[in-house]
């Protein structure tokens, strides 16, 4: 007891402060250098570039770059293809996020309350798609989604349905990618939901069921409110990921057919590839703004208590 008060008072002396501060900076130094060089600097550089007409040919002669104000932003917001890619991204997020969260929550509840055995086994299986390389996944899914002789259309054939040409049809390509993204991502959300469900105190449920509350009522009035912070976390992280969606169309469709799966990130990447760096940078900041707004919106919607 006395020892702690002694050290506590010693910690406040300036000499200790100085030593502590010095050590802290030594510990922080390697991270800070790498972070400044490879993250902070590019973020600032990108912002600057978005106000200029930088092209790939300017890299060797940085003085030929002109500051053009908001022109790139104006151009992006009137670019029909960019707006189309924004609509595609909205489609992907608005369908994909609820679907991912819904399936993840259903699986988590089933594993938490519905079964007692094989829990770890199911959990492992559902999580497997998360850890696999998107490139390998793309190879397999292209094979599964083949119009003729693909496993999915063959299975649909068993129940008398004629499956579409998934990736080749401009109306079915996006649903195919959403299906794949949900498959690949619901495992993470499920694991976090499971942890959240396990922290709901059991005695609340017991008390409620003694008072005659049905399973649904208990879920609606006990589990769901207590799970709110977890749902907020999962929906924010999933939405941030989905708003940037890139890899799925990149490896599966290259944005096609007829730009029907072209996402904002993908269009930005394409402009980078064409060497239109300033324009690409302005679009990347527009994506950032959308992400910030959507995140703030979710906090407002999900943090209230009703």
């Amino acid at each position: 007891m006395t020892a702690t008060t002694v050290t506590a008072s010693r910690r406040r002396t300036p000499r200790f402060r100085l030593r502590e501060g010095g050590a802290a900076w030594v510990l922080a130094l390697p991270f800070s250098l790498l972070f400044l060089l490879f993250t902070a600097w590019p973020v600032i550089q990108s912002l600057y570039m978005s106000f200029t007409d930088t092209k790939d040919s300017d890299l060797r002669s940085p003085f030929s770059v002109n500051v053009i104000g908001l022109d790139n932003y104006r151009r992006a917001l009137t670019d029909e293809t960019f707006l189309h890619s924004a609509r595609n991204t909205a489609y992907f997020v608005l369908v994909g996020v609820p679907l991912t969260l819904g399936i993840a929550l259903a699986a988590a509840i089933a594993l938490d309350k519905g079964v007692t055995r094989l829990r770890g086994f199911f959990r492992l299986g559902f999580y497997t798609p998360v850890i696999t390389s998107i490139v390998a996944v793309a190879v397999v899914w292209r094979f599964l989604l083949k119009a003729d002789g693909g496993l999915i259309n063959t299975a649909l054939g068993w129940v008398g349905l004629h499956g579409p040409n998934w990736l080749g049809d401009q109306h079915w390509a996006m649903p195919s990618l959403i299906m794949m993204a949900v498959w690949r991502n619901f495992g993470t959300a499920m694991i976090i939901f499971l942890a959240g469900l396990q922290s709901v105190p059991w005695n609340l449920h017991e008390a409620a069921s003694i008072d005659g509350a049905s399973t649904w009522q208990r879920f609606r009035h006990i589990t769901l409110p207590l799970l709110r912070p977890t749902i907020l976390f999962v929906s924010v992280t999933t939405a941030i990921g989905y708003l940037q969606f890139f890899e799925e169309p990149f490896v599966m469709t290259n944005g096609g057919p007829l730009d029907s799966t072209l996402s904002m990130s993908m269009y930005t990447y394409k402009q980078f590839n064409f060497g239109d760096y300033g324009f690409a940078a302005s679009m990347s900041y527009l994506i950032f703004i959308v992400i910030a707004v959507v995140t703030a919106l979710q906090f407002r919607l999900l943090q209230d208590n009703t």
């Binding site: 802290a24 590019p42 519905g114 497997t128 599964l144 959240g196 890899e247």
Partner: protein, 276 residues
């Protein structure tokens, strides 16, 4: 009635979970089974389930055509270096942010956390230009350096270290240990679970990382496994299903094995990122 309902609901849950599990696992099963089928069999309509005449031809041909040992070694070197960097540097800063007082602490924390929300596409172009300017395009350091530290790693380590008792620090100081040796000798050995979680997450992220290596690695001797597979599967070989499925299996299997061995620790780590 009530006693009758319970078992049937449980059975139904098991059935639904089993059906869902099959749906989730089928792509992997299909991939591995397909990699042992001949090209002719893979094109059959309707498809066969089990290989009719199991063959290793896809694997032997793939290994003969492509330098898989090289890609594998590149992937492993990059993943190990990136993981080591993250474990060391993120725990160092995480400790400083969680336990020590210093000037600029608040600012640093805000800055690092602020970048968590910035989409990767924002830094992509300037990062590429930067790496090109320091001459690291088409080199392994070019694949490693930009990923050596991550804000997420700092977040995870800081959260974990905050939960350790502060008395550890005072005890070390009373014993006359220097500030750095308190970190190295007292704190670091206690970070096992957090380091394991961050280590596995970082390793898998690096192993599966795709876009950056695709742009930076320009000659075959610097390809990682996903890059090699991506370039191979989109070129003129796109129609050779057998070879591609074998390639996909080679990329997936090592990760799958690592995951199954470490799954408990791994899943606990993922869960802990969400509730704290």
């Amino acid at each position: 009635m009530r006693t009758n309902r319970r078992p049937s609901i449980t059975t139904l849950t098991y059935v639904l979970l089993a059906v869902a599990l099959i749906a989730v696992i089928v792509p992997f099963v299909w991939m591995i089974l397909g990699s042992f089928k001949s090209e002719g069999e893979l094109r059959r309509v309707p498809p066969t389930l089990l290989p009719q005449n199991g063959t290793l031809d896809n694997y032997t041909e793939l290994l003969a055509r492509m330098n898989f040992t090289q890609y594998f070694a590149n992937s492993a070197i990059v993943a190990v270096a990136v993981t080591a960097g993250n474990l060391l540097f993120c725990s160092m800063l995480g400790y400083a942010l969680a336990m020590l007082e210093f000037r600029g602490k608040k600012l640093m924390f805000t800055l690092v956390m602020g970048t968590l929300m910035i989409p990767g596409v924002v830094t992509f172009v300037p990062l590429f230009i930067l790496v090109a300017n320091i001459g690291l395009i088409d080199s392994l350091p070019g694949l490693i350096l930009p990923f050596l530290v991550s804000p997420f790693g700092v977040f995870l380590m800081r959260q974990f270290i905050s939960s350790l008792p502060r008395e550890l620090l005072d005890a070390g100081r009373v014993d006359g240990a220097g500030e750095l040796s308190i970190f190295g000798r007292i704190i670091l050995p206690l970070l096992g679970p957090a380091l394991a979680t961050l280590g596995i997450l970082t390793f898998l992220g690096s192993w599966n990382n795709f876009l950056w290596p695709l742009v930076v690695a320009q000659t075959e001797s610097h390809y990682t496994l996903p890059v090699a597979l991506a370039l191979y599967s989109t070129g003129q070989n796109a129609a050779q299903y057998g070879l591609m499925l074998a390639g996909a299996s080679i990329v997936v299997l090592p990760v799958l094995i690592v995951f199954i061995v470490f799954q408990r620790r791994f899943i606990e780590g993922i869960a802990s990122t969400g509730i704290k």
